[in-house]
Subunit: 291 residues, 2 copies
């Protein structure tokens, strides 16, 4: 069994981007980071994104509207960022307060600045195998993890557990693309799937993104499979200072020994999302400035 | 074994639309039908669409630019139709001459008039389960055939053979949606799939859209399956006046006896596409005119 080290792979991508950005003369790429309110997880995510941007040489512009901002005012902020030629990418940190329609906000971001890849047009481009769009960071990160750990999907059966808009569906569409590294046969399972273990046991590559702690058990995995664990779940644990521990969607202790390769949680898919956000920002900069 | 009669189901939809359009006071819905050149199959398809529109009470405006039209002139025509408030839907008949980038033309059609459902934004809306868009006519027709022949996909394993932009991928996304009638578990197979029969034999519902005559044989189908045959292939046949016969992607003679339900070719999916185009046109009319 081999661990797929997301921290190492993400660090390699960040180092590559740093070199690339150092080679850019004149204005550097810029990402606007919008965080509404003070949700502790969001505070920590945005801080991490700001720090990584700075490390690469990407300008980070932080916008911190109050938690009670009206949808109209948030739209107006996004419109200003869309129109600002000095901003290449826009990230609106999820989750947003309940009075704001999150999907409407994501759609308000101009497609060419949608470095989060949540805009309808960019999801359509993934389906159409059009590389001029932006792939959402988590599915993009999964594909990079597979590629950089030497897993070619060609001729493989990829089983995706979960059909979310931001992970399950886009990663299924990516695995299916007629491209080097992809070209997989893809099955998408979900909470309504009958006889789930019989399907997941067929997976050469199993991508678990169902959001249930330790849901995937040893009886659901074929020996020799590659397992990508997208879940980040908090499970109560009295032995921890925080009162919880982080666990993935896979029961690591019993599944890992069966696998050819597996991602740990934390340290697998998680670190990749920030790296891919930065990659998308540099891509947005190049596409909008033709350089 | 029960035949799913596409002609009967399409006729029922057309009759419903006729009643619906009769109830519209004032300007009736209008579809612009654009055919470039004189390709015989295109001539016959456009004629069929014009006739069906007239039958329903939808205005059909025919545009017949010459085969050597420049891309710029074709774009200009589409721009005029996009801007014309009297035109609700625009259909550009495929295939286009080789000097014209078909995908660019489909993308030029305004999303709100894209009754063919080929625009990137509308494919993205299918992925996002957003009903304000347009579903491409063939996948929409497949879902109607299933619904109106009493096949609920909930808890079923749907295997799609083929990953095309206009059939395989959208029908997979539709079957997967969290909606009444859908909610299937979906596998997408293609030319690069290993051990294809082992996968297709798991299908409760098998959708064949691979474009190879009689490719699906009895050993690839589970007894009791529902089979939707999307293929329309011309196979040389000296006993026919035309010199060919039409066949689907399924070897009907040997597969049909195994099935619970199956669509014939012709008379299955084919007639549905025109009916769905008309349904999309009425929808486009209502969305753009808020009525």
């Amino acid at each position: 069994m081999e661990l797929i080290d997301g921290n190492r792979i993400a660090a390699a991508i960040i180092a590559e981007l740093k070199t690339e950005v150092a080679g850019i003369t004149g204005r550097k790429p810029c990402i606007a980071l919008v965080r509404v309110g003070e949700d502790p997880a969001s505070v920590s995510y945005v801080k991490k994104k700001e720090k990584t941007a700075a490390e690469i040489g990407i300008e980070g512009r932080i916008h911190l509207p109050p938690v009670d901002i009206t949808p109209a005012d948030l739209f107006a902020l996004i419109d200003r960022l869309n129109a600002d030629p000095g901003v290449d990418g826009i990230l609106v940190q999820s989750p947003l307060p309940k009075h704001i329609d999150e999907l409407a906000v994501f759609r308000r971001v101009a497609p060419e600045k949608d470095v989060d890849g949540f805009n309808t047009l960019n999801l359509g481009k993934v389906a159409q195998e059009d590389d001029t769009g932006f792939v959402a960071c988590t599915p993009a990160g999964i594909m990079e993890l597979l590629a950089r750990s030497g897993t070619d999907l060609k001729g493989k059966h990829v089983v995706v557990l979960g059909r979310s808009l931001i992970v399950g569906k886009p990663v299924a569409l990516l695995a299916l693309q007629k491209k080097a590294g992809a070209n997989g046969t893809v099955t998408i399972c979900h909470s309504g799937t009958s006889n789930l273990p019989a399907l997941t046991r067929q997976a050469d590559v199993l991508i678990a993104a169902i959001g249930r702690p330790e849901f995937v058990t040893a009886d659901m995995v074929k020996p020799g499979a590659v397992v990508i664990d997208v879940g980040i779940n908090r499970v109560p644990d009295a032995t921890k200072k925080t009162g919880y521990r982080l666990t993935g969607d896979v029961h690591f202790a019993t599944v890992a020994p069966l696998c050819r390769k597996i991602t740990p949680v934390p340290g697998g898919v998680g670190p990749m999302t920030v790296a891919m956000l930065m990659q998308n920002t540099v891509k947005a900069y190049r596409l909008q400035n033709q350089r």
